[in-house]
């Protein structure tokens, strides 16, 4: 339904006008962010209908969705969710909450929205990946590979990674009751017996993960004019490929993609790379 060419007054709403607004970079950021909220709602189902309605609003009433107040209200809804159901929330929910606030702040000055949202996205990603790096460096059991082995023991999604490192699913199944006995009693121990190849492979995966996450943090913290800034999207997409091909956390993949695209100002090749990253998560999720 579009306005007739001869119509003297533009209609208050039309599909064409709405789609034109959605197809702008701002429209994409708002629509994808709202859509990501539907998946985030898996952590607390009452938010699903709210986020669905919000997503439809960004599609059907894109002008209204550019009101900063609405985004502050959505952020407040997520604050309420993490207060009511803290045990159901995971780290990407908190990043989403901060991103909602970043969009709300950005929309206060719509002329410069992409600059502001891009800057906020840079800082948020730098903080998140710096924090992840610090925990891995200080945990004491990550670099040795023990943390990855234990995660694989208790989380079947990690099996492909451990299989690549030469650790069979059968050996993990055999070890499971023994590790359960260790954590249920005093004085029991269990030695993770690995071949030289597996031991080196797990250590390399651990060191590679730390290096990748640290580089992402540094590249997003670096100024836009820095050479490191050119590595931002390739590093983040690379992280997404290797991570979500193993553990497909779809809301997190979508969130990293929309923030990554915003930082890159929706440059075409970067958008395509992030779309591929999300597809990897979707395919892995569908084939689990």
């Amino acid at each position: 339904m579009t306005a007739a060419p001869s119509s003297p007054v533009s209609p208050p709403w039309s599909v064409t006008a709405a789609m034109n607004q959605v197809r702008t970079p701002i429209g994409c950021v708002l629509m994808i962010t709202a859509g990501t909220g539907i998946f985030m709602g898996a952590h607390w189902s009452p938010l699903v209908p709210l986020m669905l309605a919000f997503y439809l609003a960004t599609l059907l009433a894109p002008s209204a969705a550019r009101n900063s107040l609405i985004w502050f209200v959505m952020a407040a809804a997520w604050v309420a969710a993490v207060m009511i159901q803290p045990s159901a929330m995971e780290d990407h929910v908190y990043l989403y909450l901060a991103w909602l606030v970043a969009i709300a702040v950005g929309l206060l000055d719509r002329d410069n929205f992409m600059d502001e949202a891009g800057r906020q996205g840079r800082y948020l990603l730098a903080i998140v990946f710096a924090t992840a790096t610090i925990w891995k460096l200080t945990s004491g059991s990550f670099i040795s590979g023990a943390a990855l082995w234990t995660s694989g023991l208790l989380d079947d999604r990690m099996a492909p990674l451990l299989n690549l490192a030469g650790i069979s699913s059968e050996s993990l199944a055999d070890a499971r009751p023994q590790v359960t006995a260790v954590v249920a009693s005093d004085g029991e121990t269990f030695y993770i017996s690995l071949s030289s190849y597996s031991s080196i492979a797990l250590t390399l995966v651990a060191l590679g993960t730390i290096a990748l996450e640290a580089l992402i943090a540094v590249s997003y913290a670096a100024p836009d004019t820095s050479r490191l800034a050119k590595l931002r999207a390739p590093l983040l997409v690379g992280f997404g490929f290797v991570t979500y091909a193993i553990v497909p956390v779809l809301p997190f993949a979508l969130l990293l993609a929309v923030i990554g695209c915003t930082v890159a100002r929706f440059e075409r090749r970067t958008v395509l790379a992030f779309v591929a990253m999300v597809l990897v998560a979707v395919v892995r999720f569908a084939t689990l």
Partner: protein, 163 residues
């Protein structure tokens, strides 16, 4: 991408410089939100052993210790023997809470609550039943995995015995 449609109104443009000065303060809010969330979770992780893989710590897969690798061990004295306790389904949420954020108080609460059930022995363990006997002295222990290189062990995070 198509070009940005319809610019803001003249009134909006006139208000922009004033708005931008306020924005300088607001710009810090999203970062503060994230930093506060991370600091809160980090504090809980280091002080009350909160689960690394929940909350806002961004510490997924970083350690052998997380809620899924912990255990809640419950025993009781039944006919003068120490026996393992098969926990009633109704205590699932309490046990999950203990695994995520173990404290002496929450362990003591579970130990007290178990005293409200009636119990019967089965296969060397006791299980709750409608027509069993009341017993006291439940012991609740939450343990976590530790790692020394490739050697896994465990240690107590919280322990309580109901009087």
């Amino acid at each position: 991408m198509s070009a940005e449609p319809a610019a803001n109104s003249t009134a909006d443009r006139a208000a922009a410089p004033r708005l931008r000065s306020h924005l300088a303060l607001l710009r810090a809010v999203p970062i503060l939100v994230l930093l506060v969330a991370i600091a809160a979770q980090a504090t809980l992780m280091t002080t009350v052993n909160a689960d690394r893989q929940a909350g806002s710590g961004f510490a997924m897969f970083s350690s052998v210790d997380f809620a899924g690798s912990r255990s809640v061990v419950v025993t009781a004295t039944y006919n003068d023997d120490v026996v393992d306790v098969r926990l009633p389904i109704s205590t699932t949420d309490q046990v999950d809470g203990l695994l995520r954020s173990p404290t002496e108080d929450s362990a003591a609460q579970l130990a007290r609550d178990l005293g409200e059930f009636e119990w019967v022995e089965q296969d060397g363990r006791i299980r709750a039943t409608a027509d069993g006997t009341n017993i006291d002295g439940f012991s609740v222990t939450v343990r976590r995995l530790t790692a020394d290189g490739h050697e896994l062990g465990s240690e107590v995070l919280a322990h309580a015995v109901a009087p």
